[in-house]
């Protein structure tokens, strides 16, 4: 079986974002780019499965839709341990555009398990994985917090409101991954970094498709009013404020 991990290139999660061109575009100056956190966890789990010979996983490939400038993030995924990578050479204009490109990748290379993060930390759309599964007309399981392979079937833990379900699905399947799938993201070792330089990155051109959505403007959150401090010796006053001023309790 072959696993594909779809990765998104996002600003480091501690970035204080700024915008340019009248709040229409992200100011990329000084931004550190990283693999989207959920995609990184997906990659880690994929590699764990490949390490276990009983799973029959033969390869782990990463796919990314983005311009050449996102190559360092792809190399990072290769350094962590992916066998090879595919980059669709295009600006990822919206979730649908990206999903259509990824669907072409999957159709051409026939992957069995496709892992996508539940959202990207930049656009928070929670859409690419589900869209991809519908384009492929294959099963999808969302909010995945555990994934293993038993007798050629994929056994998945998914979070539901107020609990957890264990479900079984045949391949091909798109698993949309959240926290819990792997304990901690795997880190690239020096040997991996050296090896990543020579691992294959296939660059393919995008298919023509129109995006469904566009961001017309960004806004920064409104600053909150200054904090009202209560004396540490008198916590009772805090409760009184919550009761009488904010009327919350």
């Amino acid at each position: 079986m072959k696993i594909l991990v779809c990765i998104s290139n996002v600003p480091d999660t501690t970035t204080k974002v700024k915008f340019i061109e009248d709040f229409k575009k992200l100011d990329v100056s000084g931004i550190q780019w990283v693999i989207n956190p959920w995609d990184e966890l997906s990659l880690t789990r994929a590699l764990e499965l490949k390490d276990d010979s009983s799973t029959g996983i033969k390869s782990v490939t990463v796919a990314h839709v983005g311009p050449a400038s996102s190559e360092p993030t792809i190399r990072k995924a290769l350094a962590i341990g992916a066998d090879d990578a595919i980059r669709v050479n295009a600006e990822p204009s919206d979730a649908y555009y990206v999903a259509v490109q990824l669907a072409e990748v999957v159709k051409a290379e026939k992957f069995d398990i496709i892992l996508c993060g539940i959202e990207s930390s930049d656009h928070n759309g929670s859409a690419v994985g589900g869209m991809l599964s519908e384009l492929l007309d294959c099963p999808s399981v969302s909010a995945v917090s555990g994934l293993k392979i038993e007798n050629g079937l994929v056994v998945i833990n998914r979070e539901i409101d107020g609990g957890r379900e264990t479900v079984q699905v045949p391949v091909p399947v798109v698993a949309i991954v959240q926290k819990g799938i792997a304990k901690e993201p795997r880190i690239a070792a020096m040997r991996g970094i050296m090896m990543a330089r020579t691992k294959p990155v296939k660059v393919i051109e995008p298919v023509t498709v129109s995006a469904f959505t566009e961001v017309v403007k960004y806004e920064l959150p409104k600053p909150r009013a200054a904090c009202h401090f209560v004396d540490a010796e008198n916590p009772k006053q805090l409760i009184a404020l919550l009761q009488n001023e904010a009327k919350l309790i």
Binding site: T13, A127, G130, L241
Partner: protein, 323 residues
Amino acid sequence: MSVLVYTENWDGKFKKLSFELVSYASKVAEMLNTTATALSIGNVDTAELAKLGNYGVNKIINATGEGLDVLDNQTYTRVIADFATKEQASVVILSNNNTGKALAPRLSVKLKAGIGAGVNVLPVSLKPFIVYKRSYSGNAFAHLQINTDVKIITLAQNSFELIEKNSGAAMENSSVQVDKSGIRTQVKDLQKQTGKILLTDADIVVSGGRGMKSPDNWGPLVELADLLGAATACSRPVSDEGWRGHEEHTGQTGKIIAPNLYIALGISGATQHLAGISSSKYIVAINTDKDAPIFEAAQYGIVGDAQKILPKLVEAVKEIKGR
């Protein structure tokens, strides 16, 4: 033209989020000068279904059929898409919860409809259709223009006020034929949290961070939560250390919540934590470091040791609750 809202049920019951969805859908329908229809799938009794009619919808569809007891995303997508087409829906609304996140993107492809995900206010413009949504994990907001004929919105939980309005909703029973060979998700096991207020449903959340120092110190925090009818939560280091379960982890990679009141005890407020709680209406912080970023997000704060202050808070709440 109409607005269709999918109202999920939990063991045949709706909850506050269902009524938030219906209130929101009715308002969107009003903006568009059209009607709103609620779609329920699975077994829900008539009295429960009628509750949806208290929040302004014009029609309630009660879709039942064999094979709908498992959330198979492909099957559910087909069912919702069929009703969306039949009702000529121009806007389809779902929750931004686990189910909504699983179904909305599939529906998007099926209906050729762009998604505005995690929206918490009414559309800011109809022509063009623009929604206001969370972006960069709460560090920004985006005005997202949806250019397709049909639009999908997923509504963030706890973000829209209930609007009571009885529009004399008509009830329509519909029996759905499901092609069972198309159901590829098989449920092997189900574990449910019982008797606990769900973090994502809660109006009040009491949360602990590394400043709580040890998993043994959680007693008073849980007691405070119980007294307030609150859910308990924690920061990432706490769940990573295994002091509390992962389901309590609140923050960028954990749960994103929007309670009325979030009480942060011994949490410094790293960007990733704030990403999960910044939509809370009120934040209260107790931390030893007066320069901790959590105080920039908080309306009320105490600079001090959460462990020492907690018992006094418990006492004060007991007093006002008369216990």
